[in-house]
Amino acid sequence: MKKIINDPAAVVAESLAGLAVAHADLLRVQQDPAVVVRADAPVNGRVAVVSGGGSGHEPLHGGFVGPGMLHAAVPGPVFTSPTPDAVQAAISATTGAAGALLLVKNYTGDVLNFETAAELAAAEDLDVRSVVIDDDVAVADSTFTAGRRGVGGTVLLEKIVGAAAERGDSLDTVEALARRVVGQARSIGVALTAPVVPHVGTPSFELGENEIEFGIGIHGEPGRERIQAEPADALVDRMLRAVLEDLPFQRGDEVLLFTNSMGGTPPMELYLAHGIAERLLGEQGIVVRRRLIGPYITSLEMQGISLTLLKLDDELTELWDAPVRTAALRWGV
């Protein structure tokens, strides 16, 4: 393992220290428990939007803290959900009378720890709600699994819900909006290589030279099948089909297309894939109205991409376009 680190046990804390120095105008970092909080929190009269989860997916979530997006992010250890006291620290640093909405990716650990934190907050008379994100079509949505994972849709949800909170929407409204966005977002990911977790030191899984893990999650947990490598046209088509059939998306739908790098895939291949996806969507009469392209929800240095489609309407488009000022996403300001 070659990484630019000191001690594997200190990776998260040292990375957060760097984030704090780089973006002191936007956010502040508390250590032990680790919490990233908007510099101007709590924002009076606004619903606090709080998210979090294991580290190693940067810029998710700390890179999305700032006006127009998250009020606080709770980074756990690498690929491990934060503990309830950390989530509670984020809630108490940001939450006032307007309450808080927790955006939780559907992983057993995240759900259990955020659930416990929400119970603790309720005991302090704070109005705290949770919305679980489960946009990954690779996972069967049945009683035989932990349910669909939360992946790329998380980024879009955090932006849209953050904009609604910023304009002063009530907790009821923001919660209903979050559920609507989750219901309209679908994602699929592929991996060409595995990530290396710092405290493990070896790749999380082994892939042959000509193999692709189809339906990968964001923790290097294997996907639903292993396929032979194929040209980008065929791979993007295979990915899109899985996503389009699922909602299903239909001719005439207007969508946001999010082409995400898992961390190790360079912009060249990312744009190549994005171009193919736009062409294929166009052929099916689906209108790409907004786009996001880049490494926004990653899995350390894993090579691979994910595609997320969010069905848009005028309100969602307006919230997406609203000003945002965070370390990783910034426009309109």
Partner: protein
Amino acid sequence: MGCTASDVARALRAVSEVVAEHRDELVELDRVIGDADHGENLQRGFSAVVSTLDTAVPETPGAVLKVAATTLISKVGGAAGPLYGTGFLRAATTLADRSELDPAGVAGALRAGLEGVRARGKAEQGDATMVDALIPAVEAAERAAEAGDGIAEVLSAAADAADKGAESTVPLVARKGRASYLGERSVGHLDPGARSTALLLRALAGAAR
């Protein structure tokens, strides 16, 4: 011969040592089917439990277990933190402020722990989780206690059954946690949570001898 607060503290120190010894094994089991954090997280949690007990040992077995529970919940994270934490917490609650445990008390604490884990994780036998080690362990402990065995025998019966229960997860399709995303491909792997449960009970049995 009963089990006191200092016995429970000693047993938890033994657990911490065993978890540290097996950290890499648990990481590796988890790497293959999950996200490779199980050994790391448990080691972080139980060494924090030992540090807490080094400053002061509470007066009753239940209070010691409660300290362990809150420490695990606040240090482990992942799914293991809330699951083990809830297990220890329910065990602590069922013991109330009894100053000493008899064999039936130990079996009762294990039963309460199991029910806590089940309530939190909503897993059933056969889902390939820690519950597959814990259910047979608790049943074996209860049988041993009813038969009039001592605490050491009750715990070793539990540990033996947990080992077998953990092994039983190998041919199963995982239905909970990160491994469930693998579906059929999770077959053939020992569940890391079931393995750590078996290790934990073995350490308790060792400490009671």
